[in-house]
């Protein structure tokens, strides 16, 4: 009897451990140390870092929105196993926004690490403010993908 209850406890503990392991929250990128999973560049620009979390909870870090979009276009398998994608809030570089909630700005004088000129913010107020500063236009994630696909000929 003691033995079976022990096994049950053990199984429970293992179950807890497993659920604890799968962490789908974005974590801080180690800027200056980590390198981009797509373009191999060191990730140093804090306003542009992005990440992809797959269904197993593994995190892939990127130096830009461009590279995040590009990897989902190029690697079908990774795209199908994606749990969530996160982009840095340009206005608050320590904050990650799910791409579903993000507003993207494109063009004008935005100098993003991969040259297409993409940044992300959380709300309309921030977007309006930067819109004037950069002379950029507001786009959604779908359009972002199209721009990267077209510009890099993927």
């Amino acid at each position: 009897m003691i033995k079976s209850s022990f096994i049950v406890t053990l199984l429970f503990a293992v179950f807890m451990l497993m659920t604890a392991c799968a962490d789908y929250q974005p974590s801080q990128i180690n800027y200056g140390k980590e390198s981009c999973a797509y373009c191999k560049m060191n990730i140093v620009e804090k306003q542009f870092g992005t990440q992809l979390i797959n269904k197993k909870g593994k995190k892939y870090y990127f130096d830009s929105i461009e590279c995040l979009a590009a990897i989902t276009i190029k690697q079908e398998e990774l795209k199908n196993n994606t749990h969530s994608m996160w982009v840095t809030n340009f206005e608050q570089p320590d904050q990650f926004i799910n791409i579903e909630d993000a507003i993207f700005l494109y063009g004008g004088t935005v100098h993003s690490p991969m040259g297409i000129g993409l940044l992300a913010v959380r709300d309309d107020m921030q977007a309006q403010k930067l819109l004037n500063t950069f002379g950029a236009e507001i786009i959604d994630w779908q359009k972002t993908n199209e721009i990267v696909k077209y510009t890099w000929d993927l």
Partner: protein
Amino acid sequence: MRILRYVLFFILFIFLQSHSATYEIKSTHSKSDLKSSIINSKPHDTIIVHEGIYHETNIEVMHPLTIRGQGKAVIDGQGKDQIFKITSDSVTIENLTINGSGVSYIKDNAAILVEESKFCTVQNNILNDNFFAIYLSKSSNCIVKGNEITGNAISESSSGNGIHAWYCKNIEIYDNKVSNHRDGIYFEFVKNSQIKNNLSSGNLRYGLHFMFSDSCTYKMNTFKNNGAGVAVMYSKYVDMIENRFILNQGSSSYGLLLKEISDSKIINNSFKNNTVAIYIEASNRIQVDGNDIVENGWAMKVMSNSLDNFITRNNFISNSFQISTNGRNNNSTFSENYWSDYSGYDLDRDGYGDVPFRPVSLFAIEVEKRPQSIILLHSIFVNIISTVEKIIPTITPETLIDDKPAMDIIYDNN
């Protein structure tokens, strides 16, 4: 007739002289002296800035002018805004010390910004603690020469680049020293430009960084102790000649990183003590010839999506791994290289070994798949399986061989 010509020249000379004045600026003058002198000067005048400290920002130069420092003339932006903004052709800035352009996420503040101009020269300046030091934007035929550029990007990533060129043509960058910036020298959408004899060291990301820049040459530069030495990405026709790549170390560090580039040359360079000396991914028709690749972790990583590259007459000496790859396909040619771990023989005495050399060890493939297994490096188990693999290749790429390995070090390099 001849005398007449001389006289004419003399008159012309006098005429020109009388039309370009020299203004002298001293630090005892009021603050706005430099700015007002620039506004009041005529095209092609010279402004001499005397020894002293000047707290100035947003100095705009809108007509052709020479601004020259005499003694130790320091222009200090005190961490606010940009300092010089050049919007005219034929402007020269020389012998100045310029410090402290401000950090900003919105604006790329530079010590010297050259915008939509031609024939500008920035030479012999000392630039300290700037966000961006020299920033060339949509400009052409400019010269950046003999500047000493030191940033403050030791740990923080909020630093700009030393010399930054964006949408430029025919730029020449000579004899500069750049350290402690994000990228030492950065080219984005630049064409037909030369980078020669610079020292780029201690930069956070790359010593030199090419993005979408075609038909450029960099020659005789030294890249030391950077996050990674040089990255050439998404470019064509780049010639890399006689450079030195030293001590670029770290878990994702490279001497030279090539990604999606084509039709380029890597000739007579020296790679020493880098984590990975040369990394090639998705790059085609690259000629790697006459390089010395010595004492690196990996001499070369050639990803199998690279086609038609020629790796010839290089010295591969004392690297932990000579070549590594990620697949069984190989579409590059290795020939006439010297490999320090080649143990074949040369019976016909033609200087080349009679047995082909396989530069990819089984263990290199294993480490590529499972990086943690590096812990087994030099263990007896690994040595045994590597020897077996050498005799009966099963896992290493069959076609990745040097069919004509040199018996001796090739000395005519460099």
